[in-house]
Assembly symmetry: C2
Homo-oligomer: 297 residues x 2
């Protein structure tokens, strides 16, 4: 069987069941979550680890401004840091490029990588380059830390929790997917001031991502479609399915709602925060059978 027939999700699922655990004492979040969150011997913080890649023809089209590609390559794993409420510190870059690539293109790429790293005070401490006969690929690894009590994964959502998203959904493929700013500041504020039960960043669209959070938390969900923050020019359909929003989706106790909404408006007056629904007791299996069922599609 070929990969295309099996699908990436099932492949990952098969592979991830058999990974070695080595000398690791405790893994707070591992393969399958936004970031790996692991214990550091003798430290009060967790280590947060994320790798991601952008490939020409998949994540950007040929001819895209090189600096925009670099920005996106760095900001994608940083958006996963926002999901985990991690503070990024270090980055390593693997650059796979054909020999005929223009030096000016690579310089532009690094300009974008550097600008994105500087935005969040990340040090680029190393990397590798390799030749290829194929499309350009840039793999970025980010390493950082998070206080143990502030680490968040997809797994802590509880039945009854309110579901919130930041910003507007949909329409990101026009521009935003090359220009977005990961919600790290907002995530750090959230975990400082509230008990966030589960969180993730929306990269594949709410319709694909929310069922993942629900499955990881072993709960169901109910979405009030009429409340979705649909971006101008987008429809409910594209807001759910298009992806590349890089907004935060999180679950929090309904008891926190009033205080959260009030304090959020004061702290981030320019960024929308919307309650889009809640988690409920519907079983994991029901969600599997109807992955978008509760979105009423």
């Amino acid at each position: 069987m070929k990969l295309g027939a099996l699908g990436e999700n099932r492949l990952l699922h098969q592979i991830l069941r058999h990974l070695p655990r080595g000398r690791t004492r405790k893994v707070f979040a591992g393969a399958g979550d936004d970031c790996a969150i692991v214990e550091i011997p003798g430290s009060k913080k967790y280590l947060v680890l994320k790798t991601d890649c952008v490939v020409e023809g998949v994540h950007f089209v040929r001819g895209t401004n090189a600096s925009d590609v670099g920005w996106k390559a760095m900001m994608r794993p940083l958006s996963d840091f926002a999901a985990a409420s991690g503070v990024p510190h270090f980055s390593l870059i693997t650059l796979i490029v054909p020999q005929q690539t223009k030096v000016a293109w690579v310089q532009g790429l690094y300009r974008g990588l550097r600008r994105a790293a500087n935005r969040f005070e990340v040090s680029i401490v190393g990397g590798e380059t390799s030749n290829t006969t194929g499309p350009i690929a840039i793999s970025v690894t980010v390493i950082g830390f998070v206080e143990k009590r502030r680490a968040v994964s997809r797994r802590g959502g509880r039945s009854g929790d309110d579901l919130f998203v930041t910003g507007w959904l949909g329409g990101a493929l026009k521009q935003k997917h090359l220009k977005f700013v990961p919600r790290i500041v907002e995530s750090r504020w959230l975990t400082k001031n509230f008990s966030i039960h589960a969180m993730m960043d929306l990269s594949d669209g709410l319709g694909a991502d929310l069922p993942r959070l629900a499955r990881a938390s072993k709960v169901g969900f109910d979405i009030e479609l009429e409340n979705l923050p649909v971006a101008r020019g987008a429809t409910i359909d594209t807001a759910i399915s298009e992806g590349e929003d890089y907004e935060l989706l999180f679950a929090v106790s309904p008891r926190a709602r009033n205080s959260l909404e009030r304090q959020w408006r004061r702290k981030f007056p320019k960024l929308l925060l919307t309650r889009i629904g809640s988690l409920n007791r519907k079983s994991q299996i029901a969600n599997r059978k109807l992955p978008r069922g509760y979105l009423h599609f």
Copy 2:
């Protein structure tokens, strides 16, 4: 200008001059060294970071056994950990593969990655996959720790130091480059028992790698060609230039020589350790002009 004309080393040199340092307090070793070695807030150990990649058509030919490819992809960054005397803990894997790749091939690849990780008790804690229209590429990041007094870089070599290499050089392209075991155990023993001034792993061949260590340490070197441990079937020329040996090259005070050689034979009776020359006062500039001059080529 195109990359092919500029050359990878000069490209990296240009790029690395301008990297952001972010919130990093202290970088013991950074871009350009085998591993990045950085301070962890509140920890007595350094964090050790390395990313590397293997690309089809560059690091392995199409049709190579998938498990061997996985082994090599994991062992290459682990060989850099040996150079730094780091203890690897975690790994992240980015897999860039065309849709028409056989699922069995990917399973074989992960078998090799897992076997290699298990050998050094490394946990594979995450990763990403992406589609591509080009050749298969596997990027592996390894994260670990090293005691501050045992961290080694390329930069600490001193004039008068003896230069040693482990094992035999040359002939690695036949078999060894897919089957090698990084010298992590040997490196950890060395830094526990001796003051190792500078160390690196030999991946591009002694003729390319030794000048890098000398330049980083701001010294010159003298090699006694007649003492080189040339592998069976190899010549002095291929032993110097072929690469992929994944042996250790290190600099140590000549006062340690007798004790080192005696204790090494007792501890590692099956692995050759050879003094191949010494570091000297020749200037960095002289080495630049004659990158292989002191190898008498």
